[in-house]
Amino acid sequence: MQEQTSKALSNFEGKPNEVIPMLQAVQDETGYLPEEAIRDIADLIGIPESKVYGTATFYSQFYFSPRGKHSIKVCLGTACHVRGGMQVMDALERELGIKAGETTADFKFNLERVNCVGSCALAPVVMVGDNVFGRLVPKQAKEVLEKSDPEV
């Protein structure tokens, strides 16, 4: 982990306006922001850890605990909302036995709601990795999971 963090931070000069790009670089490398990474960034810039943590928690892109192998993003932008995105979310929650924002116990899936992935024509839409599943009905929730992980 330490090695990954150092690698991610090696291209930065340590200027205060680099906080967000640094956090993004670490998360790209490790999948989330471990506590040590926050400390390393603070040391590199020479500001308190609390400042870095404060910035990180402000933005929804950052995660502070390990995430599932597959990230299921249920679009709940306006177009998906009016075309039944919430019902698809309900069905996925039922299938996985977790709520939005949570990760399954086997770290296979995590489920999150996102605001508009720009595929409004296909609403309601679910993204798993780079795969887009469009024009879904609740019944297809299981199919989405099966197609995303062959072991389901």
Partner: protein, 605 residues
């Protein structure tokens, strides 16, 4: 020399309906036939008609193929490319055309559109600076570099261009403020943090015509006396970021970015900054804080960014679509041309993201002043499934809904504001009779409440209180006083919030109460949601007279709540039913009815 150019839409909408696979299949087919070198395949920008994606346009024939599948590629290659005959089967067909339609001029979706901002999108290869230059690109920059900075500001002001990001402030005036501000270091910031759920025009412009943004920023830099720019782009738009990086690199190689641009002594450095997921960063002072690496919180104005902006220096912040208009205006005679389109107070065109329950979803560019009816019915082809049009939400979470009776409303800054909505980014989400207006207001408010940064009390606490009331109403716990409380909270939040987020977030609530008060009253007084959305306030019942027992609903139900023998009327187990609406969507005989809870006979609409 290529015989034909084949533009495959490589924008998000078509990519998600599989245009990458189409491109692969086409390549394979061309290789198989040994004619790969005769054709240029381009993953191009968005032609706008997302509904019928994936799309391929073949030039110079100007033939528009849509709803393509990988297995269609063999036919397309053999019949069109080799045989020279149009594949009629793959042309646009729909209830709005008599015969299969061949191109822009015959497809009704394009009939009322006017392309300014999307002039190159889907026409040129977005990764080729040469194609941009061939279409007249960077000519306006060349002209601007020979002009006096204040003259550029005046010309843009005179053209009547207003900011396309939402508030509609005159762009030339804004530039003039930065130009006049004292200081030798100034910045141009492009706000590409498109956060409105349901709006994706900035993304399409960035992906389809990135050089237009660079050129717009360079001209802004010249007009404002700035020599450095930041493009603040959502991290959720990786393709847009990649295309921008390519465009920057090409412009640097061509001497259009960097030092002494086109030998004029003008220097400009361009940076890209990725956003990290905060809606409030679309607000200009919050965006500046985020560029500086801080929490993206807004601050009071004045001082305005034109005086104290990013890193404390005078800064102009323009939205993507605004900047994409600049090269058109600043070229020779462009301002006059630009002014000819639009209304008295709103000049030029606007790009709308048309989505929701409309038949033709996609990106639409129309002259300012185009009516809601023209957009939804002429361009959009009417409501999906032939249902009834109820309202359209204009301007996303900051905007408001416009009901059916105002269908002739011209869409421009002033008319929308008068109706209680705003232009905002230009998202238009169409709703039919199965959309509950209370739920819609709740949806938008839950969004803004979550995105409220928490700095000022009216927005932080006020949105929370309003949301609680809306939640109660949608659960059947509303009381008659709630509507007055909502109204007074909404006005307090509008008047006293620090930034645009708080000042506009009550709009969806205010407009739904203004135009659909009866629906709120029905929820509160009769515990009934006629649209079948607020789950505790309705139930689905199968019409026992007309159900023919086709079992379509049984198969689609995700919780096995529908029972019944084949060819016998079915029944819904109300205990098991989750009210997901799958059955009502599926039933072809209109046998599933929305009724009041506990009643079998009283049929809703």
């Amino acid at each position: 020399m290529y015989e034909k150019h084949i533009m495959i839409c490589g924008a998000t909408g078509c990519l998600s309906s599989g245009s990458n696979q189409i491109a692969e299949a086409l390549k394979e087919e061309l290789e198989k036939q040994g004619i790969k070198d005769k054709y240029r395949l381009v993953m191009g920008g968005c032609p706008g008609f997302c509904e019928v994606g994936p799309i391929i346009v073949i030039y110079p024939d100007e033939v528009f193929y849509c709803r393509l599948k990988t297995k269609d590629m063999a036919e397309l290659v053999e019949q069109h490319l080799i045989g020279g005959e149009i594949v009629e089967r793959l042309l646009y067909k729909g209830p709005d055309v008599e015969a299969p339609a061949r191109f822009y001029d015959t497809i009704p979706f394009y009939s009322k559109q006017k392309f300014n901002v999307l002039r190159n999108s889907g026409i040129i290869d977005p990764e080729s600076i040469d194609e941009y230059i061939m279409r007249g690109g960077y000519r306006a920059l060349k002209r601007a570099l020979q002009m006096d900075p204040q003259a550029i500001c005046d010309e843009v002001k005179d053209a009547g261009l207003r900011g396309r990001g939402g508030a509609g402030f005159p762009t030339g005036l804004k530039w003039g403020f930065t130009n006049k501000a004292p200081g030798d270091k100034k910045y141009i910031v492009c706000n590409a943090d498109e956060g409105d759920p349901g709006a994706f025009m900035d993304r399409s412009i960035l992906e389809g015509d990135p050089h237009a943004i660079l050129e717009g920023m360079l001209i802004a830099g010249r007009a404002c006396g700035a020599d450095e720019g930041y493009i603040y782009c959502r991290a959720e738009y990786p393709l847009a970021i990649r295309r921008l990086k390519t465009a920057i690199q090409q412009a640097e190689e061509y001497g259009l970015l960097g030092t002494n641009i086109l030998d004029s002594g003008f220097n400009f450095k361009m940076n890209i900054k990725e956003g990290a997921g905060a809606f409030v960063c679309g607000e200009e002072t919050a965006l500046l804080a985020s560029i500086e690496g801080k929490r993206g919180m807004p601050r009071p104005r004045p001082p305005f960014p034109a005086q104290v902006g990013v890193f404390g220096k005078p800064t102009t912040i323009n939205n993507v679509e605004t900047l994409a208009n600049i090269p058109l205006i600043v070229r020779e005679g462009g301002a006059e041309e630009f002014k000819k389109v639009g209304t008295e107070g709103s000049k030029g065109t606007k790009v709308f993201a048309l989505a929701g329950k409309v038949r033709n979803t996609g990106l639409v560019e129309g002259p300012m002043g185009i009516t809601i009816e023209e957009i939804i019915f002429d361009v959009g082809g009417g409501i999906q499934g032939g249902r009834e049009f109820k309202a359209v939400q204009a301007g996303g979470p900051s905007g408001g809904c416009i009901p059916q009776d105002l269908i002739n409303l011209p869409i421009d800054y002033d008319s929308l504001t008068k109706a209680g909505a705003i232009m905002g980014s230009g998202g238009l989400v169409v709703m039919d009779d199965r959309t509950c207006m209370v739920d819609l207001a709740k949806y938008f408010l839950s969004f803004t409440q979550k995105e409220s940064c928490g700095k000022c009390t009216p927005c932080r606490e006020g949105t929370k209180r309003m949301l609680e009331i809306l939640e109660r109403i949608s659960e059947g716990e509303g009381i008659p006083e709630d509507l007055d409380t909502l109204d007074s909270l909404a006005h307090s939040i509008k008047d006293s919030s620090l930034c645009g987020l708080g000042q506009t977030c009550p709009n969806p609530v205010l407009t739904t109460i203004r135009y659909f008060r009866h629906e709120y009253e029905e929820h509160i007084n009769e515990n009934y949601c006629r649209s079948g959305i607020c789950k505790p306030l309705f139930q689905y019942v199968i019409d026992q007279e007309n159900c023919n027992g086709c079992r379509a609903c049984v198969r689609v139900c995700p919780v096995d709540a529908i029972e019944g023998e084949k060819k016998e009327p079915h029944e819904i187990d109300q205990e098991l039913c989750t009210r997901c609406g799958s059955c009502i969507e599926k039933c072809r005989f209109d046998c599933i009815m929305i009724t009041r809870v506990g009643s079998e006979a009283d049929v809703g609409n």
